[in-house]
């Protein structure tokens, strides 16, 4: 049996999405910006897709949802554009981000920091949450932008974006949220609170890879990151990714339709699975359930290094994660676990299971059995659970 429980990394493309994309490879391959029927035959589907994407986040027509190549591009764009427009010109000198943003925000923040921008990295608390008050405490009259993600990719923790948006409005500071982990898991209505920019990524909600978007509120225009042939209203040059946009539109429509299922059925399955996992002794979950996206569990198994757990899961055909897939090649522990300040010896033991509407009860039952066996085997190997003669001074707690 193969079980995919890494849906915060990427998702299966919904077959209906793929079906709608298919004609735009071999049959309708025209460049939408040309002047002939090959071009114009792509227009109806593109218009539909844009309407679906706008509707998905309740964006009014006068605002812009610019299609990009991925969420990383969107996040780079907003931060670098703020740097060019506000920091480099000397109008402002400061931005605020949370310390657990996606690497595409953190690395870009560090880059503009190296170019002279002051950056505040907001800490998260013991539950893995950002305190909106800390935004207020750090805003100055020189703050250009606050960027705080809607939901965290590792813990699923939902951050108080409504409150933060309100604080930004009070202080007349621009507000961006990376909503990559929110779309399809939480109701996203940009008109229900103050937000100026919002990042999306199609492949996180059963759309294709290589398509993302940045929502830009009217009057909060950005300078382009990609200059060229003035596609996307001059905001983002580059030939339109027709199948990608079509796929993103369909995926958005389906995500909205499936939202209730996600928030009830998927959540129920997740909760029951989590209850069972927590019955295994010495297991820990950091963020309370009601403060998390409905599909995510980040759980620590004491005495088992995360990669070892992935190894045993993978041998049984199960795909999970120790955190951000982008970080799995280095040796570092889960940065979110470290930021939460969980007992240091648990930082390397975190494993993330992220479900989707495609996850079945049968898959979770199977996974639970595999996890139980893996815990038994790996704790059998683990020095944490090993014999020491009487009077032995353990050196295992000391840092080396």
């Amino acid at each position: 049996m193969r079980v995919y429980l890494d849906n915060n990394a990427t998702t299966i493309v919904d077959p209906h999405v793929f079906e709608e994309m298919e004609p735009y490879f071999v049959q309708k391959y025209g460049n939408p910006n040309s002047l002939h029927s090959f071009a114009s035959e792509t227009h109806p589907a593109l218009k539909d897709a844009m309407q679906r994407i706008y509707a998905g986040i309740h964006a009014p027509k006068e605002d812009s949802v610019v299609i990009t190549s991925c969420a990383t591009e969107s996040n780079n764009w907003i931060l670098k554009s703020i740097y060019f427009q506000y920091i480099l010109t000397g109008r402002k000198n400061h931005i605020i981000v949370s310390e657990v943003e996606h690497p595409s925000v953190i690395a870009t923040a560090k880059f503009i920091e190296s170019m002279g921008c002051r950056v505040t990295y907001l800490p998260i608390n013991h539950e893995g949450l950002v305190d909106a008050q800390s935004v207020r405490d750090n805003i100055t009259d020189k703050t250009a932008l606050v960027s705080v993600m809607w939901a965290n990719n590792e813990t699923g923790a939902i951050f108080p974006v409504e409150e933060i948006g309100e604080i930004c409005k009070e202080h007349n500071v621009l507000f961006h949220t990376d909503a990559v982990q929110a779309i399809g898991k939480l109701p996203v209505d940009i008109q229900s609170f103050n937000v100026d920019y919002l990042t999306m990524s199609a492949h996180k909600f059963h759309g294709p890879k290589g398509v993302g978007a940045l929502y830009i509120k009217k009057g909060k225009e950005l300078i382009p990151l990609l200059h060229g042939g003035s596609q996307m209203g001059g905001y983002r040059s580059g030939t339109l990714n027709v199948p990608g946009i079509v796929g993103m539109g369909k995926a958005m429509e389906q995500a909205v339709d499936a939202l209730d299922f996600e928030m009830s059925d998927v959540k129920e399955m997740r909760d029951a699975f989590e209850d069972e996992l927590l019955k295994i002794k010495d297991t820990f979950v950091v963020t309370p359930r009601e403060k998390r996206t409905p599909n995510t569990i980040l759980i620590s198994f004491r005495g088992i290094e995360g990669e070892s757990m992935l190894w045993d899961l993978n041998r049984a055909g199960i795909g999970a994660s120790t955190g951000s897939a982008c970080a799995s090649e280095d040796l570092e522990s889960n940065p979110v676990m470290e930021a939460i300040g969980a007992e240091a010896d648990l930082a390397h033991t975190a494993v993330r299971f992220s479900l989707s509407r495609y996850t079945t009860q049968e898959e979770l039952d199977y996974t639970l059995e595999v996890v139980k066996n893996a815990v038994e085997r790996l704790r059998g190997i683990s020095s944490t659970y090993s014999y020491a003669p009487e009077g032995h001074e353990s050196g295992l707690d000391a840092h080396h």
Partner: protein
């Protein structure tokens, strides 16, 4: 960069079959109790290394024959990734039947080589080499415990890169001999820094006492100091490019080394008053002292001698003008 590094691979694909097999079924995983050691007539040694907070921790059990120092049985327990478990297992295997003194000589490189499927293909990807270092450290810990000595006493040298076991003295020597200026060059010459990269600069996986960047800086400073000394004495500079102070020092040096001695023997001396650029010429104003003052030769033979030696040693366009 290049094609191979553009699309990240799965680190597990780079594990040898041996590593995979040992991770799945470690052979020497387990414990030795006091009772079991006693039954063998052996002394039980339990040594720990690492910490879960660092991501790797290993506990090594030895039953050592106190008469021969031979390790009769060797087992391990490990908190860590696949590489850590497989290399702990291999390490425990390599210890068996060796004396404690022989076991101390086992390095992480021996452990890694023992896990290879074919002699020239590494058993683990570079960033995982780090996880085998602990297997080496814990042997030292166990041996130290058995012998009642300090663990450091087994280290003959300071090791900067533990993964590739490159010492401080080797690095210093290679950097100087080959005039290395970048970390990449050091890695090319010594393999230091090619693995977990902790030793390159602060902020890596593990904190170090000394980093490769420190060694480069040390060498850079040394070169700068040498250059400064050289330029202060004007050794490597064209006379024309020297500052006034450097010119004065250079002229003084030449006079000291070639002329002053002769003047003093005759009961005289000279001093330099000024150096002026005069069109294409450098005019050096001097004053004779003691017996030289008023000596007939001072405006002929001696003067030509001084001028010629300065021309020869420093610059063709020097003229010496006694006041």
């Amino acid at each position: 960069m290049g094609m191979d590094s553009l699309i990240g691979g799965t680190i597990w694909d780079e594990y040898s079959q041996k590593v995979t097999d040992l991770m799945n079924n470690p052979k020497n995983m387990g414990e030795i109790t006091e009772e079991q050691a006693e039954a063998m007539g052996a002394k039980l040694i339990v040594a720990d290394f690492g910490a879960e907070s660092c991501g790797d921790a290993v506990r090594l059990y030895w039953a050592v024959d106190p008469k021969t120092d031979v390790i009769l049985e060797s087992k391990f327990k490990s908190f860590g990734c696949g590489t850590a478990i497989a290399s702990s297992d291999t390490m425990a295997e390599l210890c068996k039947g060796k004396t404690v003194d022989e076991a101390v000589k086992i390095t992480n490189i021996d452990v890694e080589k023992a896990m290879r499927d074919t002699p020239d293909v590494p058993a683990v990807p570079p960033q995982k080499m780090h996880c085998s270092v602990m297997a080496y450290d814990v042997i030292k810990k166990a041996a130290a415990q058995y012998k009642g000595v300090d663990m450091e006493s087994f280290e003959e040298e300071i090791i900067v890169c533990e993964c590739a076991r490159v010492s401080l003295s080797t690095l210093r020597e290679v950097i100087r001999l080959n005039d290395l200026t970048t970390v990449e060059e050091i890695t090319d010459y010594t393999k230091a820094g090619a693995f977990c990269k902790s030793c390159i600069r602060p902020g890596g996986h593990e904190e170090k006492d000394i980093y490769l960047v420190d060694l480069l800086e040390e060498y850079e400073k040394e070169k700068m100091a040498t250059a400064a000394d050289a330029s202060a004495s004007g050794a490597n500079l064209d006379f024309a490019q020297m500052t006034v102070v450097q010119k004065l020092k250079a002229v003084d040096k030449v006079i000291d080394e070639n002329i002053r001695q002769m003047l003093i023997m005759d009961g005289g001396d000279m001093e330099i008053l000024d150096i002026k650029e005069n069109g294409a010429h450098f005019d050096i104003y001097i004053r004779y002292l003691g017996a030289c003052n008023g000596c007939a030769s001072s405006s002929t033979g001696t003067l030509f001698a001084i001028e010629n030696i300065l021309k020869e040693k420093l610059d063709e366009n020097i003229r010496v003008l006694p006041i």
